[in-house]
Symmetry: C2
Subunit: 591 residues, 2 copies
């Protein structure tokens, strides 16, 4: 499903006239295909007046403000399954009877879907008021009204043949195609930026993520009207790859509020509530009920799992119309703050995101990271390692977190459960550092750095930007930047750390050797980042790991790699390689 | 708990001045102890203008209109747990800061509770806006806001000693006391009216029932905002006894609405919904989630049971602050129509309710009816039998249902799932029949009628008001008045029918004999209805039933009964009787 998901996008801002003659209500549109270069985070419809003062202008681009704008955007949006033979004109004409449309795009996922954002929230009310229950299943369906709709058309109203609604992919290209494209670039720098462009979340993908989050609020929140469901993790930290999971948390703080109210006459009214034995039990209770609601009431939500005994209790399910795997937790404010920190680092220098996304791809292709819980390195751990490496350059490319804490203003102060999570939110206060290294060099140095890191003795600490002695015997120790006594990579076992080190050694070697450089050819061999994504690299390590042998860079292993690279050409019928490699490549459709 | 529940009641209608000097906001009250003679169904606050035309005046007293008014009254009400040392003045002064109070009463149930009805709904919003979460359990409670509140007071604000907030019982007197009181009456007519007065639902009890229903809507309905939770059964059919269960159904018809909307341009939007394999599966799914919500989120709701595989799936739970046992179902419109029919019969003649409540007490004391499902005769079956008996008098006391169908106007037409449930709603169209029999005579005749009814051949049919040949071999066949092919007493087995017949025979004999007449004494012996409620009557039958013997009225059995009545005096230390009888009497605290 993921691979076939396609998108087409329209912008309508009230200046065009295309459809004016077709309808009575005000409705204009300007069509524009989205640039795929950078996910546009700042929404188009931010009112000008909010930019009035410098203070407000700074706030405008802060992480929390961006999230808030996205949430409002999503609340004005609906997700509509369309008939296969829908035409854009008919669709937009019909929808615009409910008000001016701000933005609209189509994508394909077991049928054509449209995401429609109205300019005003009341258009949603108007639309839902005119929406009916499907007559065929009136009595056998749960009549819970959400903003996930279906557009139905009588036979005569649409063309018999299926018109090609312009769609663009929501998901990334497969690894095989990616390697081919990368190998056509002439520098590693260009390779990494190409990879960034291909894999970063698009504007549409981000819109869809916030919409699914908003739809989930409609399901999860009827009991807690003031609650917020917040996106955290890859979807918002600027390092998300197309196809990554949706991490959500139900924020009940605004429901509970503050009990500072003073009653003059010393009588006060309190809500009677179901009480539990602990905060954790309350969380489990709430998530358990929400899981039932999602499972029984939530249209398009399938495969609901209650994982309530995990350290951080969660509900996992798939949202079919978007194809997103969703994890819902509660009380995860530190994780949200971590996302904000990553988002800030990602905005400091273009090279940071290119490095992180490329290395996330590299780690995924070689099975260093994994969607399932286990002893694998998590994306967050890996990203922290990359940030640490970039802090350790000379001169540093990005500052340590403690420096960002010092730059913080009074409004940035943030203590969560006793942990100091304060750091600057206004990126303009962070001065540019003088590092001018190329991505080519940084990538090479990253592998060398971790191929030789004294993991047995030292820990990684992005708060100070330098290594510390390890406080315990965990194979990999990465200090949690906010909960300072925690190791974010506590789960990693010696085997997985060993695989990481070995892959770094071999990747460093490959980049350094002639075989990793581009060769002039009409059918380019994998080279540079392309070569690093070849599954053969990890395959040989995996096979050896299974035998329980201690891995060391050995001339024998490098000879095999060279032999593979000589004969293996990315893509095309001429590509060689053994069956096992091809199978691995095709099963990893996207990294 | 039930026996200790007490009530005190205030009316505030804006004409009094008692508290005016104590507060800034408009707030007046007129104190009045409720008459216990008849539950006042017509709410005090019905606007005059709605009585403008005759048509509307008729509608005013219709069953559905009464329900609607009660629902609105409940929506303007809150349930508040009070400190034990609360004073009425402090309480009312504090509450009235949120608006004019229409009605207020106190009752005791594991502490003092108050039911407060405001004149305007916005007072509820004001009050909830000023209500806080209990600080001690802020993080360990489910922050779901309902109208079940607690009033907290600082030490200094209330008197140290507990003032006696005037409370009145919400629950009936126990059987032992009832028998004593009944035996002090000088005619059976007076006995039955006394029993009616003691056991019928009071105004406060009805208010509390509708409030609990409304509070349950707050828990069950967040997903279906347009839904209605309707009370049916004893709570509303005018035959309810104090302490009877709360039967509720979730009516989703107004959510689903009608799909009659025509779209001019032949495109239409439909909600996507979770679909199920059948209507029953949808009902089960909805009730299952609601059970989870009630269990995990509903304050005061305990002992939640999902009984989803029953013929009519239901959720059962106890609402602790009111002491009500609640059964929630969905799609029970025929049952609601049955309640309306009983309500209509109950209003036709005062004797109907006196007969039904007395015989319900009699059946409960002798274990003919039971709160648990089984082969017992249900209250609905018993009531139908009484109605049938009253239809069969000469002249009839009440008309058959078919006659009520003929009197129906166009607005009364009602077809539910193919069943004609039409009957007149305007009682003024039902002409008085000429029956003038006393309750004394009617009660005697009732027992004689069913002691001799040909249950083996004939069925009871209140639609025609005459017996039919049985269509099947069920021991007791009572045609469902709306679902004509159904037997409402299908569950009754031969043993239970035999117990009914025997009890009717013995009750008829007792009423007919001198021992059932009042004897002049300072310590009256049980007689008349008092004698009929003595547990010894059923005890001898139960013991004999266990041995599997066919019961016939036998001189031996009557001799024992006479001996018991001679020595057994209701109430007081002088009352004789064997230990087994006393145990049975004390375990049945109220009938």
């Amino acid at each position: 499903m993921a691979a076939s998901t396609q998108v087409c996008r329209f912008y309508m801002n009230g200046r065009g006239t295309f459809f004016r003659s077709l309808q009575k209500n005000y409705f204009c549109f300007r069509r524009k295909f989205a640039s795929k270069k950078v996910a546009k985070i700042v929404p188009k419809n931010t009112p000008k007046k909010q930019l009035a003062t410098k203070k407000e202008a700074e706030d405008e681009s802060s992480f929390s403000r961006l999230q808030e704008d996205r949430r409002k955007q999503a609340e004005r949006s609906v997700l509509i399954a369309c008939p296969p033979n829908i035409t854009e004109m008919k669709f937009l004409k019909h929808l615009s009877t409910h008000g001016s449309i701000e933005n609209c795009f189509f994508y394909e996922s077991f049928g054509i879907y449209a995401v429609v954002e109205f300019s005003q929230t009341h258009s949603i009310d108007s639309m839902l008021g005119a929406t009916i229950f499907p007559s065929v299943q009136n009595e056998t369906a749960v009549p819970f009204k959400t903003r996930l709709l279906s557009l139905k058309a009588s036979d005569s109203v649409l063309p018999k043949t299926r018109p090609s609604v312009p769609c663009q992919k929501l998901n990334p290209i497969g690894t095989k195609e990616l390697i081919l494209k990368l190998s056509q670039q002439d520098t590693v720098d260009k390779q990494l930026y190409y990879l960034l462009e291909q894999h970063q979340l698009t504007e549409e993908n981000i819109r869809l993520r916030f919409l699914v989050c908003s739809l989930l609020k409609d399901i999860a929140a009827p009991y807690f009207p003031e609650c917020v469901i917040r996106l955290f993790g890859s979807s918002v930290n600027s390092f998300g790859k197309l196809g990554c999971d949706l991490d959500l948390f139900l924020d009940l703080d605004s429901v509970r509020g503050r009990n500072t109210k003073q009653t003059r006459n010393q009588l006060s009214l309190e809500f009677q509530m179901k009480s539990t034995s602990s905060e954790r039990a309350a969380t489990q209770s709430i998530l358990s009920v929400i899981a039932e609601c999602v499972d029984h009431f939530g249209p398009g939500c399938v495969g609901v799992q209650k994982i309530l005994n995990a350290r951080c209790p969660l509900v996992r399910f798939s949202h079919q119309p978007s194809g997103f795997q969703c994890d819902l937790t509660t009380n995860n404010r530190v994780a949200l703050k971590s996302s904000e920190m990553l988002h800030l680092y990602g905005r400091m220098d273009r090279r940071v995101r290119a490095m992180v996304l490329s290395l996330r791809c590299w780690a995924q292709v070689h099975g260093l990271t994994n969607n399932f819980p286990g002893a694998w390195i998590t994306n967050f751990s890996l990203t922290t390692m990359i940030i640490f490496f970039l802090q350790r350059r000379s001169p540093p490319l990005i500052p340590p977190l403690d420096q960002l804490r010092e730059l913080a203003g009074p409004r940035d102060e943030c203590i969560i459960e006793g942990n100091d999570c304060t750091f600057v939110s206004d990126i303009s206060r962070v001065k540019n550092l003088d590092n001018t290294e190329t991505l080519d060099h940084l990538l090479q140095e990253f592998f060398v750095f971790y191929a030789n890191f004294p993991f047995n003795q030292m820990s990684i600490n992005i708060r100070k930007g330098k290594e510390d002695y390890k406080p315990d015997s965990s194979p990999l120790y990465i200090q949690n930047p906010f909960e300072l006594s925690q190791n974010v990579s506590k789960n990693v076992n010696p085997t997985q750390l060993e695989r990481l080190v070995t892959l770094c050694q071999e990747s460093a070697w490959l980049l350094n050797e002639g075989w990793a450089k581009q060769r002039a050819s009409t059918e380019p061999s994998p080279w540079g980042m392309g070569a690093l994504l070849l599954p053969s690299l990890s395959q040989s390590i995996r096979n050896k790991s299974k035998k329980g042998r201690v891995l060391q860079p050995a001339s024998e292993r490098f000879k095999n790699l060279l032999a593979f690279l000589k004969t293996n050409k990315a893509g095309g019928s001429g590509a060689a390689g053994n069956a096992e490699n091809q199978k691995t490549a095709s099963s990893t459709t996207s990294c």
